[in-house]
Every structure is written in structure tokens, then in C-alpha cells.
Symmetry: C2
Subunit: 310 residues, 2 copies
């Protein structure tokens, strides 16, 4: 019974193979492109596997997504839909997202871009921002990660609301649920943080209509997926002045292509999909533990659902 690994980058794949071999003694851990006998492969540990790659293994027990999202697995049209998908989170991943969200919410709140531009021009200008209690942050996506990020921002003092597909209860945070609650949620939000999974329902959710529902001067932070954003609509909302700025960690195409207009846009901060990096040092441990636990119990507490899409 073997485990195959695919991370996109060959060196990264080898690193994960080496780590998983140590963590799963007795298993035959191999790179996806050298899988041995296909019928022996029980687990595929992957990030954005090539189309058709998973379907080659007739006795696969589960696909393990090296990430919280599963969209990069589901986009394979040949993926057998009955195979369970395990996702990889863990405390470090949640911690990194908490840091990213707190940093960029604070940066928009305190108008860091304006202060930096003033420094570049040698201008001393004291800009007064309200205390966080008078700044409204809205978090889209209230799964485990989204909830922890919303609570982190609330603990910094911000007035936080959250929106999700289904109703959630979070201490001190007003929650909105479902499509009909999206507009009222956006209308009260000055800094919008997208942490949604990418599904057929959320694809393109950050578009002219939704961005236009934010109050004038609002800012966007997208640490969900690039597919959430209709890029032309975002550029239009920034260029019209309706949005004051956007911090983007994820893109339709990654790495963000050379000469993409986001790179040099004065109102866009580009970060290279680092909001929540899973490093092999701890990530491989979480993956190995999840595989062993799934094998023992037949399920995991926070399993993905291929039909639901996350």
C-alpha cells in the first residue's frame, strides 16, 4: 500500500516524500510521477495535481489536499467524485492566517499606504484614524479558519461581522447567512476580508455588484482564492475611487503573471500566496497524522465534501 505525493515543484515534492517516508514508516511513499503499481496507491497527497492523475489509481482511499481548500483538486474533470478528500489545516496554518488578516486589516485601518507614500515624498502629515471600535470589518467565510480570524480581529478592538453560507454563532460577532444577507453585510463593512472556499457558488463573488455594495472608501483583503475576484471589476472599483485599496494574496493565475496590472497598481498590495503557507516541517506531520487517523477511524472531524465543494 503506497502513498503518492505531488506538490507541483519537483524539489518540494521530494522534500515532502522524504518527510512522509520518515513519518509513515512501512508505507511506500513515492512521487506521483513514479507511483509504482497504480493499484497499490491508497493515498494521494497533492497540491493542484495534473488532470487525470488521480483517476489512474483504482484503489485510492483518499486524496489529501495540502491546504485547507480543495478547489485545486476538484478542478480535475477526471477526478472520481466518490473518493473522499482530506484537507490539511492545523494550528500553524490557522496562526499564519490570523497574522495575515490582522496585519492587513490594521494596515488598511491605519492607512499605512498613505503614511508610506508621505514618507517617500518626505511629507510629515498626521492622519487621524478612528479607534478600531469605530471601524467595521467584515469576514466572508466562517469555517474554522474564518472564525479564528474574525475573533482575532475582534480582539484587536474592531467592530466585526461575518458572512457565511449557513448561520454561525460567534461570540461578539454579528453573523449574516446566505445570499439574501450578503448585501446588508457588505453595506456595513469598511474592510472586507475574503476567506471563502472557492465553489461554484462563490466563484466571482467579488464583482461589480458586491464591491459596489461596500461603502465608498472601503478596502478589500482577499486571502481566499483568485477565482473569487472578477479582476476587471476590482480594477474598475479601485480606479473609480470607490475602493481605497486592495490586498491580494491569491490570483486567477499563480504566480501572478509578469505585466499583470495588479503588480504596479498604486492601490493594490500583492502578496505571493503566503497568507497561510503550510511548511513541510509541520505540514507533513499534520498530513501523516490525518492519514493514520483516517485509516483508523474512517473519517476526520473536519472533512471536505466534494459535492458541497469545500
Amino acid at each position: 500500500m503506497s502513498v503518492v505525493v505531488y506538490l507541483g515543484d519537483d524539489e518540494e515534492t521530494r522534500d515532502w516524500v522524504d518527510r512522509l517516508r520518515r513519518l509513515l514508516p512501512g508505507r511506500d511513499v513515492r512521487p506521483l510521477d513514479d507511483p509504482g503499481a497504480p493499484e497499490d496507491v491508497a493515498y494521494a497527497v497533492v497540491w493542484a495535481p495534473p488532470a487525470g492523475a488521480i483517476a489512474r489509481f483504482p484503489r485510492l482511499r483518499a486524496v489529501v489536499s495540502v491546504g485547507a481548500g480543495i478547489d485545486h483538486v476538484l478542478r480535475d474533470p477526471e477526478l472520481p467524485r466518490h473518493i473522499p478528500i482530506l484537507r490539511t489545516t492545523g494550528p500553524e496554518m490557522v496562526q499564519r492566517l490570523r497574522e495575515y488578516v490582522a496585519l492587513h486589516v490594521l494596515a488598511h485601518h491605519r492607512q499605512l499606504a498613505v503614511t508610506d507614500a508621505n514618507q517617500a515624498r518626505g511629507v510629515w502629515q498626521q492622519i487621524v484614524t478612528p479607534p478600531a471600535q469605530r471601524r467595521r470589518v467584515g469576514v466572508m467565510g466562517l469555517g474554522h479558519i474564518g472564525a479564528q480570524c474574525a475573533l482575532t480581529v475582534a480582539a484587536l478592538g474592531f467592530d466585526v461581522a461575518g458572512w457565511a453560507r449557513s448561520k454561525k454563532a460567534l461570540a461578539g460577532i454579528e453573523t449574516f447567512a446566505g445570499p439574501e444577507a450578503l448585501r446588508p453585510f457588505l453595506a456595513r463593512t469598511e474592510i472586507l476580508v475574503c476567506l471563502l472556499p472557492l465553489t461554484s457558488e462563490t466563484k466571482g463573488i467579488l464583482n461589480a455588484g458586491t464591491l459596489g455594495s461596500l461603502p465608498a472608501g472601503s478596502a478589500l483583503i482577499n486571502a481566499g482564492r483568485g477565482g473569487h475576484v472578477v479582476e476587471a471589476d476590482l480594477l474598475a472599483a479601485l480606479d473609480s475611487g470607490h475602493l481605497s485599496g486592495a490586498t491580494l494574496d491569491v490570483f486567477q493565475t499563480e504566480p501572478l503573471p509578469d505585466r499583470h496590472p495588479f503588480w504596479a497598481h498604486p492601490k493594490i498590495r500583492v502578496t505571493p500566496h503566503i497568507a497561510s503557507y503550510i511548511d513541510p516541517g509541520t505540514g507533513a506531520g499534520v498530513v501523516a497524522e490525518n492519514i493514520l487517523r483516517y485509516e483508523a477511524e474512517g473519517r476526520l472531524p473536519d472533512m471536505a465534501d466534494a459535492v458541497r465543494g469545500y
Copy 2:
């Protein structure tokens, strides 16, 4: 019995005079340069008053510092040393400092300057930073404001220690006290946050010796006073590569003079003394309340001490 007001800027002074008139009905609130009968002046509400200005009022009951620090009052050589000094804090001031410290600790932690420089060059480079639990932050100054900032950073996940003149107890935070504990405190600190009051003991405390005691690659955030920093020593520590960066909110001379080397230094972020702005809207309310309470009780819970210097 009158109250005189001096904020440096004429327009700001007039704004505070107007607000305090409404908040202290029955008092004669006037700008410092038009004080009426000097013997009627009971309170002087000031930021950095001109030398000799306070000494003109023979029956002054207290000086009210529009700020948490009192160094800008004490630097007047003619200041009568027996006059009590009230300082102005309040929840909004603490909140703003919490935000500033959290923002800039996170920015150094997540290497925002490197990410921004990469964006400017159109470079997609995923830099891996450890989770905050493996990043050591040190806060100098553990009065009410310093303690709240240290707890805020600890709640974000950082490994936080604090240093103060006398021993403090703070939940979850290792504390160091006194001059002999300064080096060990610095040796375990990767991001140093200075929130000290400026006194004869703390003047120039951020110098070649102390900065050299930080581990290589450390960063400095100074939201204390410009006088804490020996500017040439800081520049040398940055230019040698010993320090990775510095975020400075306060300076020997403010506004920071044109052509000062800090403006254009690639490793320095300059913010224009905005870490904790006291805005007149809420600040005047705190000042008025403090004056009334001091008059009723003869003291305030968190009074400054001119001899101690803070």
C-alpha cells in the same frame, strides 16, 4: 479661576479652548498667550509649552499634559517643580497604541518591507516566516499602556517579554526589571518595542550597546520618544546589517526635518508621531474629567511624578 491651553498649533489650541469651554461651563478657558490675570490661572492644559510659560502663573494647581508622557513639560527649566502634573491617557489612546504596536510588530514579523520591495520589482517570491509562537517580541516600558500593548501582541500568538524599571507581573509574559536585566532581555528579543517614558535614566537608551545586544537581524519599533534613540548608533546598526529594520514614530526633532537621513533610509519606516494621537473629540473630555476629578479628590489614580520623571 481660569484654565489656559497651549497645543503648539494655533488652530489646534483654539479647537481645544472651544471644546473645554463647553465641557467646563463656568470656567474661563483661554489660550495660553491670552491668559487674563495670571493669578487666576488654576490649570494649564499643554503640549510642549514654551520655556517659562508655566512659571508665570503663581496659583497654578496643576499642569495637564495632553499626552501620556510629561517630558515635554519637564524640559522647561523654569517649571516650578512642586506643581503636580496630570497626564492624559484614556481608552482611545491605549487602543491606538495597541493598534500601532500590533501593526508594526506584524509587519516586521511577516517581512512586509521585503514583500513590498518584491512587488515593486514584479517578483513573486514566497518568503516563509515562522508562526508568531516562534518570534520573540520585547516590550520596554510596562506602565498601563506598555502592559496593554504587550498583552495585545501576546494574544496574537507572539512570545513576548517585557522590561521595566521595577518588576511587573503580567499574565503569560516574562518580565525583566532594572538595568542589570536589560542585556538578557535584549538578547532574547527579535522585535524590540520601545514604549518607555523619557527620563534622565532612559535618554539615549537605544544606543550602540543596547542595539548590539539584540540578536542579528532584529527590528526596532520606537513609539516612546525620539530622545530614547542615539540616531547615529541606530543608523550604524541598520547599515551594518545587524538590524533588519526600524519603525520610528518619534524623533529628536518633530516634525522630522527635511533631508534628515531617516526619511529616505531603505530600512526605516517613518510615521509622523501618530502611534497614539489624542483627538480633541474624546481627548478634551478626558482632560475635563481629569480636572474635575483632581479638583474634587486632590489626586488622580495614575498621576505623573515630576521627580521620577513620568
